[in-house]
């Protein structure tokens, strides 16, 4: 029984269950995505906190070299003498990779082990042994984190075979531990060995990766921190565990912004679905609403009743969205751990819950606001005049406003997302997002002008192909251009973001591919398995270069030592850059990257004298040019250095990068291990033979290393770039799915509207198939029209944004994302067919008699 006028809203909703469900599903997906991303962000954040607080529960302060290099061993005595220090625990870091029984390396991140070399009687971490005990001070013993050991079937007492920087080793598991809160490290294993063993297996003869401190008086940690910082100098960070956690989180903020943005797009499209759905419902119900007005319902009552419906849809959609979000976040966590971010157990803070619910409801209400106002304006006379729709095309004013909002975002959005002048500043982030949001709203307003010509052009083709059904479908899309456009716009928005995304990644890859031959002017790159330059991780011990140099047919073997850190002049929470050390005498033989501001020879000579070659983006951001001075800060020392040339390429994949000499690297940053070796054969004829020799050597003694050809390096870089963009695309795929729901919705309404028409057709002898194909054609017109507009708009945005990326990636030029375009077009066709299935079935099932009697 109907109890009040307001409960009419619920009744209306229940009679249009399918439509309500479709409309709500947009919100389910949108909220799901937003919630998933929020959960992901807080899970990552929590992982860092856990990681640090559980492993460092007793640690008050820790010192880590800013540049990933070594803290000189000589400092240890000095640190122990600092007043207020109760305990100083040094650590040496090394990476192992587990081996198959046949001695070859196990591939994949799960076989990697982060190993801490520690003083067993003075451990820097809070090990809780579940079985066994701490390793001895000497010997091939190892303690392994229990969860990872269990996952890989490793047991106490067993010996495991690993590849270390210095070669193969077998270590006996003497203890299984966990940290206080039972945290695991994602895919990689964590293990402890004695300091002496670490020195032996890593080849690092002195220096420490990290030093932990306990204070005598915990209330005076601040003072102690300042004191230790003075002793260690500006190349080393001395922070509380919380401080490190905060720093890590800040570095991930850039990624978070992108994820929030994309999930925001999904929700935006969801809101758009609400807008379209309600608009259509209101149009369809004009007679009814007019009648309610003749019965004395006020405008406000009508508005309220539409908004009530929206709240119910929003409420249900949001609730289901939360559930979906949890499932989606599991998927996202898998993807994000594949790009090397450690994540632990799922975290679902109340704030994420609150934000997702609030956003879901607000977006639903905003989407319903315009249709509700429209409903409120319906005059009582509609009760007599009926639902006759005012079929108006979009207005010119709308196009102008749309364009005005669209253009600034296209022109300047790129410099927000990619240039570093705005990096880190909240104002920049807010401004950039506002600009981009405005761009999307502008696109929403103006897109119909683009979509309709596409639809018209496609109509001609469809009519050629199927005269009768096609005729009806094209009439349907054209008789109601506003609705056709509104439906297609949702798809256009989702797809345009996909195209922007892939336009950027394609352009980046093309640029790298173009430049890489010059940058990798060598025959082989020796590197840890699947680890491109700049990815932190394993190093190559010095003997490897020496042994390769002795192989027959070798021309040049020269090391590259790299570290990823903030470059001089950058704040500690900015995106890190790459410092690359090379041997200036040999480097010219294996690298032909263009250099500007001086000749190659001069630049390399300058590097030999302690100078730096700076990447263009970095130089531009800090206003450096050849002859400028910068100060390098490392754990070893600080020194002034002259800029001797500008690197005219983007092959490092990082906006900030610089090249220095091996000597400078070791003196300032304390890095003496090789990240890569560049090898050339003495003559092209000897290349194949040399390759075989190197492979044999690596397989025998260094199974964790590989000798990659330049083509292989290319594909590795490619897949690294793709992995990152795939994460974004996965989120965007949800937005695309939402817009398809909109297509189904529109088609369903189209069936209802044309019930009589379809009935006449059927009565005149059209087959069910013909009726079906009418719906199919209409669906295809909308999806393909929307997709083409999305491709065009996305390409335009990507084109302009890439112009703003030149400092980020010198020499980058726009490359049209051919593969994506083809995929999207094909997908639009397939999805158009899928979206039509339900409505087409409904149309085909209409009983001709009933359809004609339909009123």
């Amino acid at each position: 029984m109907l109890r009040s006028f307001d409960s009419l809203a619920l009744r209306q909703l229940l009679t249009r269950r399918l439509r309500a469900a479709l409309t709500a599903f947009g919100i389910v997906l949108g909220v799901g995505m937003v919630f998933a991303v929020l959960v992901l962000a807080s899970t990552i954040r929590h992982t860092f906190d856990e990681l640090i607080s559980s492993a460092w529960g007793k640690t008050d302060l820790a010192a880590v070299s800013k540049s990933g290099g070594q803290i000189p061993a000589g400092k240890l005595a000095e640190l122990r003498a600092v007043p207020g220090v109760a305990k100083v625990s040094p650590m040496v870091g090394v990476m192992f990779r587990r081996l198959h029984p046949d001695g070859s390396a196990i591939k994949g991140a799960g076989a990697g082990m982060l190993v801490a070399g520690i003083e067993p009687d003075n451990p820097p971490y809070d090990f809780h042994f579940l079985s066994g005990s701490m390793v001895a001070k000497q010997g091939m013993q190892i303690d392994v984190e229990q969860a990872w050991a269990q996952k890989h079937g490793l047991r106490l007492g067993e010996a495991i075979a690993v590849a270390t920087p210095t070669g193969r080793a077998r270590l006996q598991i003497v203890g299984l531990f966990r940290f206080s809160k039972g945290l695991s490290f994602g895919e990689m294993g964590f293990a402890g060995i004695s300091m002496a063993t670490a020195r032996q297996l890593s080849g690092q003869e002195n220096g420490y990766m990290q030093i932990s401190f306990q204070a005598r008086d915990r209330s005076r940690v601040r003072e102690l921190q300042q004191h230790l910082q003075r002793v260690l100098g500006s190349g080393v960070d001395v922070k509380t565990p919380q401080g490190f956690s905060d720093q890590l989180a800040k570095q991930l903020q850039g990624l978070n912004v992108v994820l929030y943005f994309f999930s925001g797009v999904a929700l935006f499209v969801g809101g758009f679905l609400i807008l379209n759905g309600f608009n259509m419902t209101v149009l369809q119900r004009m007679r009814e609403i007019g009648m309610l007005r003749t019965l004395g319902a006020t405008r406000l009552m009508i508005v309220r009743s539409v908004l009530l419906e929206a709240i119910m849809i929003g409420g249900v959609g949001t609730t289901l969205g939360l559930g979906l979000g949890l499932a989606l976040s599991e998927g996202l966590i898998k993807m994000i751990s594949s790009i090397g971010v450690p994540v632990g157990a799922l975290q679902m803070p109340a704030s994420a819950l609150f934000i997702a619910v609030a956003l879901g409801l607000v977006v639903t209400l905003l989407g319903a606001l315009m249709p509700a106002r429209r409903a409120g304006r319906i005059e009582p006379i509609r009760a007599v005049l009926g639902d006759a729709e005012i079929r108006r095309g979009p207005s010119v004013r709308r196009a102008a406003v749309g364009l005005a909002l669209f253009v600034p975002g296209v022109l300047f959005g790129g410099s927000f997302w990619f240039s570093d002048s705005t990096q880190g500043s909240t104002l920049g982030v807010v401004g950039g997002i506002a600009l981009t949001m405005a761009m999307f709203i502008g696109m929403t307003l103006a897109a119909p002008y683009l979509i309709m010509p596409f639809v018209r052009a496609l109509s001609l083709a469809v009519r050629r192909l199927s005269p009768t059904a096609g005729r009806l479908a094209t009439d349907a899309t054209r008789s109601n251009p506003a609705r056709t456009a509104a439906t297609a716009v949702a798809l256009t928005i989702g797809l345009s973001v996909v195209v922007v995304n892939s336009g950027i990644s394609t352009s980046m890859l093309h640029t790298i591919n173009r430049q890489i031959d010059a940058a990798y002017a060598r025959d082989f790159t020796i590197q840890p398995l699947d680890q491109i330059l700049g990815q932190s991780g394993q190093a190559i011990a010095t003997p490897v270069a020496k042994r390769i140099a002795k192989l027959p047919g070798v021309g040049v073997v020269t090391p590259i030592r790299a570290t990823v850190t903030q470059l001089p002049g950058r704040s500690s929470d900015s995106t890190p850059g790459l410092i690359m050390a090379v041997d200036p005498a040999a480097w010219g033989n294996v690298d032909h990257t263009p250099i500007s501001g001086s000749t190659r020879a001069q630049a390399l000579a300058g590097v030999a004298r302690g100078g730096v070659i700076a990447s263009k983006g970095y130089a531009a951001a800090l206003n450096l040019h050849v002859g400028s001075q910068i100060t390098l800060h490392g754990p070893g020392s600080s020194r002034r250095a002259r800029v001797v040339g500008l690197l005219d390429a983007a092959t490092t994949g990082m906006a900030d990068s610089m090249q220095i000499s091996l000597a400078t690297m070791s003196e300032v940053y304390g890095i003496t291990e090789d990240s890569q070796l560049a090898v050339t054969a003495a003559s092209p004829a000897q290349r194949t033979q040399l390759g075989r020799e190197i492979q044999a050597l690596l397989a025998r003694d260094y199974p964790n290393l590989e000798a990659a050809s330049t083509a292989q390096v290319k594909s590795q870089i490619q897949s690294a770039v793709n992995r990152q963009f795939n994460l974004f695309n996965a989120i965007l795929a949800v937005a695309v799915v939402i817009s398809l729901l909109g297509v189904i919705n529109t088609l369903a309404i189209s069936v209802i509207e044309r019930t009589r028409e379809i009935g006449v057709l059927r009565a005149l002898g059209s087959s069910r198939w013909q009726v079906r194909s009418t719906m199919l054609d209409e669906s295809l017109l909308i999806t393909v029209g929307g997709a083409l507009a999305g491709i065009l708009l996305g390409s335009v945005i990507a084109f302009f944004w890439i112009q703003g990326m030149d400092t980020f990636m010198p020499g980058i030029s726009f490359a049209f994302p051919v593969a994506t375009t083809i995929t999207i077009t094909l997908a639009a066709i397939v999805l158009g067919v899928l979206a039509a299935i339900l409505p087409a079935r409904r149309a085909a099932r209409l009983d001709p008699i009933a359809a004609i009697a339909y009123e």
């Binding site: 009419l8 007005r293 003749t294 019965l295 319902a297 007599v384 009123e855």
Partner: protein, 288 residues
Amino acid sequence: MRQTTDTVWYRMRMTRDRQGLALNSMDANASTAAAIELRGLVKVYGQGSTAVRALQGVDLTVAPGEFLAIMGPSGSGKSTLLHLIGALEQASSGEISVAGMRFAGLGEKELTRLRRDHLGFVFQFFNLLPSLTALENVYLPALIAGRRGEELQRRAMELLGRVGLAERAQHLPSELSGGEQQRVSIARSLMLQPKLLLADEPTGNLDSHAGGEVLDLLRAVNREEDKTIVMVTHDPAAAARTDRIIFMRDGRFAGQTPGGSTKAVLEFFADGHIAAQAQAHTGTSRAA
């Protein structure tokens, strides 16, 4: 005193009035007590060269309790007239008062309230809410007026009984015939006990049997509950069952005749009365 044709008619009706209502309304103050009072009503749709003059100066007085039929060719402005009386549309010029209330100067809110409290509409296409049962459709106006409680359902049930559909209370409109739907919509229009019912071709969509039932109902409502009813119809037989029939042509008043028999109505058409009366009408209007 105005000597317009309709006041003459008004007097005639009064003498026949079974209940002898408001006998004193025959004096000069009669118009204030009239159920409907129209003066110089003009309605123009659109502007400039495309303007349609749907009503071109209509005067009309309807007495309380009168059952009035409006007839005339298609496009003559019958519906427009009804819409203006029902405050569904605004007049271009002229005066309207219903139950002594003048529309001029009333705002959107007041007009809404007027529709709710004083007017009942019966449409050609029933306009029942498809998602509500017959019973719910009947008491919907009360919900809109903000009333609640068991009382509503009891009254709605009574009204359904009155229109002979008590057994169909729980049916949806789609499960009722056209005539039944129209009876439900009449019950709905009575829910808030308005004094005036406006019906635009209420039988237009029904066959003669169902139409007859609807007319019986309207007639009974008019007699027994003292409702004033204005009904637009194309059906002489339907019109004949009312108290008075007025004819429209080209947006103007074109004559009138008392109801009674179908024959009288048809004769009236045949006599060419309509044209003559129309001229007389405009003449007197100007003189007034």
